[in-house]
Amino acid sequence: MLIRYLSQVGKYFLMLKEIFNKQTKWSMMRNLIFKEIDDLIIGSLGIVAFISFFVGGVVSIQTALNLTNPLIPKYLIGFATRQSVILEFAPTFISIIMAGKMGSFITSSIGTMRVTEQIDALEVMGVNSLNYLVFPKIIALLLYPFVIGISMFLGIFGGWLAGVYGGFTSSADFITGAQMEFIPFHITYAFIKTFIFAMLLATIPSFHGYYMKGGALEVGKASTVSFVWTSVTIILFNYILTQLLLGS
């Protein structure tokens, strides 16, 4: 069992090496990158905006409802919302949602190409299929931090709207809290995490799609397995990076 997992990890790293070998012609690659930006980044903005706005609102309401002690200032609602959204919700929670949305899309599209021999067709023609299929996804996901930036903004905005118009805090208190004890490195930490998660989001689902065997049923199974492993890896890396960057 352990040997099988280690062998898969080894295969994953060999795949990463192969992705950067024998580059596809730039005129073709440019179009592929734009297509992936459209599919993976632009196509995710709607759901990210929706979830961020409402979860930010819920964080704000939950914090307000738990501040029952009148000695605790109301500006803590803004502070808690900002910290939750920037440190964990936007980079980690959204990435896990994206493991489901983007990840299953990547695994099923590459897996379907495997099942229908389209990957064999690329290889037979002399195309480095890993470079052709996965490299544009990696480049497209370099824009993923922008998605998370939007998520941060909308999460805090949703928190402000819910806090103020729900009658839990005043606008001035919320903004004071949101600006209080702001540590710029927290933004750096969030974006370092986001960048690593983006690479995991591009490569782990691709690995599961590319090396899948079987038919249509196995494409579905590969998508599920890919979601599980991408989520587990994101959570593990979240712990490791938090310990490394904030723990000392």
Binding site: K25, Q118, A121, E123, G126
Partner: protein, 253 residues
């Protein structure tokens, strides 16, 4: 010309190809036939470089595949056209984009040159009005013709076809067979076809290799297959009454 020498290939503990030696000649349609599990697909995929034989060599006009470095292998692959069993057209591309793909990828032709070449090969396979259609919008026979057009668009030296008429009606099968034969002669290509279809054997089998349990059991021409008394070939090729009668009629002539 493709020369196969003593090729052996195993998966886990089972040996699929057991010392295959044969030659696929240029300008001829070379057929690989045999029962399911006889090693036809493994041999075809070994020729394509998808499987790597443990023993033996495969050489393309003197170039031994296993001795080539990665760049030389990729270069050689640009000389290969392949028609897959399920056509393997790229779903997200139109018919014209599928056919133009090898040209865009491997040549520096201008847009108008690519368009002219795509128009020419699509006309050659009798597909004139399908340029902008997606593979899902055309029939199985048309998909096969697009796959053939894509395979020949970059003037390959070698054309491989895996079950080119599987899932097609008899009329379309004959059209596809004849198209492959014509293209082979017209462009002097080394064509290797993996097939179960006995009509293809009778129609276009200029050189036939019969595999049984991973071993070359027989090889010859379509004329010779009528006269052979090789039991394995007779049992396989003439398993239906129709083909038995065809054979009897041929031998009476």
């Amino acid at each position: 010309m493709i020369e196969v020498k003593d090729v052996e290939k195993s998966f886990s503990d089972s040996k699929i190809l057991k010392g295959i030696t044969t030659t696929f000649e240029t300008g001829k349609t070379n057929l690989i036939i045999g029962q399911s599990g006889s090693g036809k697909t493994v041999l075809l995929k070994s020729l394509l470089g998808i499987h790597h034989p443990e023993v033996g060599t495969i050489s393309f006009d003197g170039r031994i595949y296993s001795s080539l470095n990665d760049d030389e292998k990729r270069e050689l692959r640009t000389e290969i056209g392949m028609v897959f069993q399920g056509s393997a057209l790229f779903d997200s591309m139109s018919v014209a984009e599928n056919v133009a793909f090898p040209l865009k990828m491997f040549t520096n032709k201008s847009k108008s040159e690519i368009k002219d070449r795509v128009d020419f090969v699509l006309k050659r396979v009798n597909l004139i009005d399908a340029h902008h259609k997606l593979p899902s919008e055309i029939s199985g026979g048309m998909q096969k013709r697009v796959a053939i057009a894509r395979a020949i668009v970059n003037n390959p030296k070698y054309l491989f076809c895996d079950e080119p008429n599987s899932g097609l009606d008899p009329n379309t099968s004959i059209l596809i067979d004849n198209l492959i034969k014509e293209i082979t002669e017209e462009y002097n290509i080394t064509t290797v076809i993996n097939t179960h279809d006995m009509n293809s054997v009778m129609e276009i089998g200029e050189k036939i290799l019969f595999l049984k349990n991973g071993v070359k059991a027989w090889e010859g021409t379509k004329e010779e297959i009528f006269r052979t008394d090789n039991e394995a070939v007779v049992a396989f090729v003439y398993s239906s009454n129709l083909f038995k009668k065809v054979r009897e009629a041929y031998l009476k002539e």
